[in-house]
Structure formats: structure tokens, C-alpha cells
Symmetry: C2
Subunit: 193 residues, 2 copies
DNA sequence: TTCATTTATTGAACTTGTTCAATGTTTTTG
DNA sequence: CAAAAACATTGAACAAGTTCAATAAATGAA
């Protein structure tokens, strides 16, 4: 059940077999049905999770009720509200399953235990956070400099497997545009082909 | 000379006096004159830096020649191109001093030495990267959901000391709008007061 | 299968933001 | 100090993106 997790960890750092077993033993499998929430705004995020099945969206709802999708997570991706989890403060985010999904969760206490006992775990999360940060920097630059057309085209090119599983409403909330405008962009692209 | 650095580190983790001395001893002071570059796109970023004087801008130039500012760094902030530094690949970013500035720099080799010898340093950079990442997530959400007016007002409110040292061109490049439009926003705000 | 709900498309009017060009202001630098 | 360079403002025309409302299409639940 933790095969995918082990493979993921191995892609970042190297652990001995027993270290790997010990660390992965700290995770608990959780099944989340479509449209159910792993986290809601206002709660304190009690877990860091690794997706083994399905797909999640991590999003924010602003004062006017509009949704902004921070990221999607499919199999082999990690999910958490890093701010709420590390600082134990109420989350501003929602994490919702978009399909029947499963994730392996680790609690804060167990994660801290791992940091103490296995120094390489500290490295694992440093490296992963760095990579996530680099990706977000790129997205930030793209959002500052590119039109919605370009961002949409690059999104479907970069995540072909992902965009097929999403509605246009969700993609629009990720790109930061209205779904009506996304519909117009899609039409324009179709006409050009 | 490393007083500010020590204080900064202490705000994230606790080190013994000798650990602190050893780690801080790995940094070299560098003076960068106004309009000079600490890093240019195409180069491999050889340092991670801590600003002790002045101000830097970290920015990207896109294909059409427009600049997007990823962040500013004043005294007590860290600067690097984390992607180029960790993966030793050509940078896409420029780091330029906007005033006569100084920074304490650590090389990759010395930083890796510190990771090996002082496990707490691993924690230091994990924690710092997490905080930076949380801040960038917030900025991403703001950029997806707020108008330029709101983003400008929040910027000057959040960084009052910073915005006074910047030109409107630089603030516009950070907010992702043209400087002409920023000028119009400023006028509108003045009229309202 | 059918009815209800969610999702997608379209058009028209509107708002936000850009571009370009001209002009004035401030800052640098020789 | 004077000249040059960089910065800021403004207006007009335009492009990008939103909002609202109507309709069609797809999906899901009973």
C-alpha cells in the first residue's frame, strides 16, 4: 500500500530499508469520497498527506465568495496546508476530493518524531519544499507576464493527464479567470486549428 | 559584522555559541554598488546570501523584454535563485542592487558542509523555505483574486519601509501592471483622500 | 429513465488594464 | 552647475477580461 510513497521518497533522498519502513509506518491510509473534504477553512490542518488515488483541489475562497485554486494533487503528489500544519493556526484553505480518493496521512507529532529520529527526513522535506517553491515561483512569473490564453495553453501542455480530469470551472479557478472567459479562449483555440 | 545574521538565525532555530560561530564563519562579506548585479540570467547561482545593507531586486525578463519582480530583499532578508543554486543550472533571474548594498554570502560547498556537520542547519533552511513558500502562496492567491488597486494598497501597507525606497516602475513590475496604470491608481487614491 | 443539478457556451455591455506618445519632474553624473 | 538620463504623469485609443443573463449540454441521483 505504501509502494508509491516509498518510490516517491526514494526519488528525493536515500534511506535504508529499515529507515524507510519505520518512516512509512507512521502514515495512515484514509479514503475520501468525491466532494468530501480533507480540510476546511477555519480548521487546523492536522496532517501532511501523500495522494495514492484520485485527485484533490486545494483552494481558497475570498471575501466575495470567489474560489482560487492554489494547486491540484493527483497520485504521487503531496498535500497539506503548510502554514496551518506547521504553525497550528486556523487554515484559510479547503482541500476537497474531486474523485473518490485515497491518501496516506502523517500527523504532526509523528512527523516531528521522524525529524528527531531520522535526520534524513528533515532533508526530505527541505528538498521537497524547495522544489514546490521553485514551481510556484515559475507560476508567479507566468501569472505576472502572460495572458490567460498562454497560461491555458501551457497548463494543458504541462499537465495533459490532469486537465482531462478537471472541469473548465476548476481550470479557470486555477488560472485566475472567469469560466466564461475560459470558454471563449477555448473557442478561439478550436477555430485556429 | 555577522550580528544581524546571528540574530536572524536565532529567530528560526537555536544553535550553541560554537555552532553559530562555525556556521557564520562560512559566510563572506560582499559589497555591491548600486545598479550592479549579484547574479545575471544565464549564470549558475553560486551563493546563498543574507542582506546586511541596502536593497536588492530579484527579477525575470520575459521574451518580450518585460520585467517581472519576484521579490525585493532588504536588510535581514535572504537572497538566492534557489533553483539555479541547488540544481546548478543556468539561472533565469537577475539579482541587482538598487542601492549601495552588502550581503553575506555562503557557497554551495560550504552550505553542504554545514548540512553534514550541523544537522540543525538542515532544519534552518527547511523552516525558512517553508515560510517563504507560505508568503508566496498568499501572494499567488492575492494575484488571482484582487485588482491592481487592492494589491497596491496592500503592498504599501504591508511594506511601508520598503515602498519608500522603490520607484513606481519597480513596484509596478512587482504587482504585474504597467507603470502608467500604477500612476493612474495613485492619482485615484490621492483624489479619494 | 427521468428530473434536477451542474457544467459549458454565447452575446452584449461594462470594467480593468495596456500601449503609445507627449510632457513635466526628479535624479545622476560629468 | 548644466546636461543627460531616468522617472512620473496624463490622455486617447485599444485589448483583455468580467458580469449578467439566456440557453444548451452533460452528469448524477432517485
Amino acid at each position: 500500500m505504501t509502494e508509491l510513497l516509498k518510490k516517491n521518497i526514494s526519488s528525493h533522498i536515500s534511506l535504508t530499508k529499515s529507515e524507510m519502513e519505520e518512516f512509512c509506518g507512521l502514515f495512515q491510509n484514509k479514503i475520501i469520497k468525491k466532494k468530501k473534504f480533507l480540510l476546511s477553512a477555519g480548521e487546523i490542518c492536522k496532517f501532511e498527506g501523500f495522494v495514492t488515488k484520485g485527485i484533490f483541489r486545494v483552494y481558497h475562497i475570498d471575501k466575495s465568495g470567489a474560489e482560487q485554486i492554489l494547486y491540484f494533487a493527483i497520485e504521487n503528489w503531496w498535500i497539506t496546508d503548510i502554514d496551518s500544519f506547521t504553525n497550528e493556526r486556523p487554515s484559510q484553505l479547503f482541500i476537497e476530493a474531486l474523485e473518490d480518493s485515497e491518501a496516506l496521512l502523517i500527523s504532526k507529532k509523528d512527523k516531528e518524531f521522524a525529524y528527531e529520529k531520522l535526520p534524513k527526513i528533515e532533508k526530505l522535506f527541505r528538498v521537497m519544499t524547495q522544489k514546490t517553491h521553485v514551481a510556484l515561483q515559475r507560476r508567479m512569473i507566468d501569472n505576472l507576464s502572460k495572458t490567460a490564453d498562454q497560461r491555458y495553453l501551457e497548463f494543458i501542455e504541462k499537465y495533459p493527464q490532469l486537465h482531462q480530469r478537471l472541469t473548465n470551472l476548476q481550470i479557470a479557478a486555477y488560472l485566475g479567470i472567469s469560466h466564461e472567459f475560459l470558454s471563449k479562449i477555448r473557442k478561439k483555440i478550436l477555430l485556429k486549428k
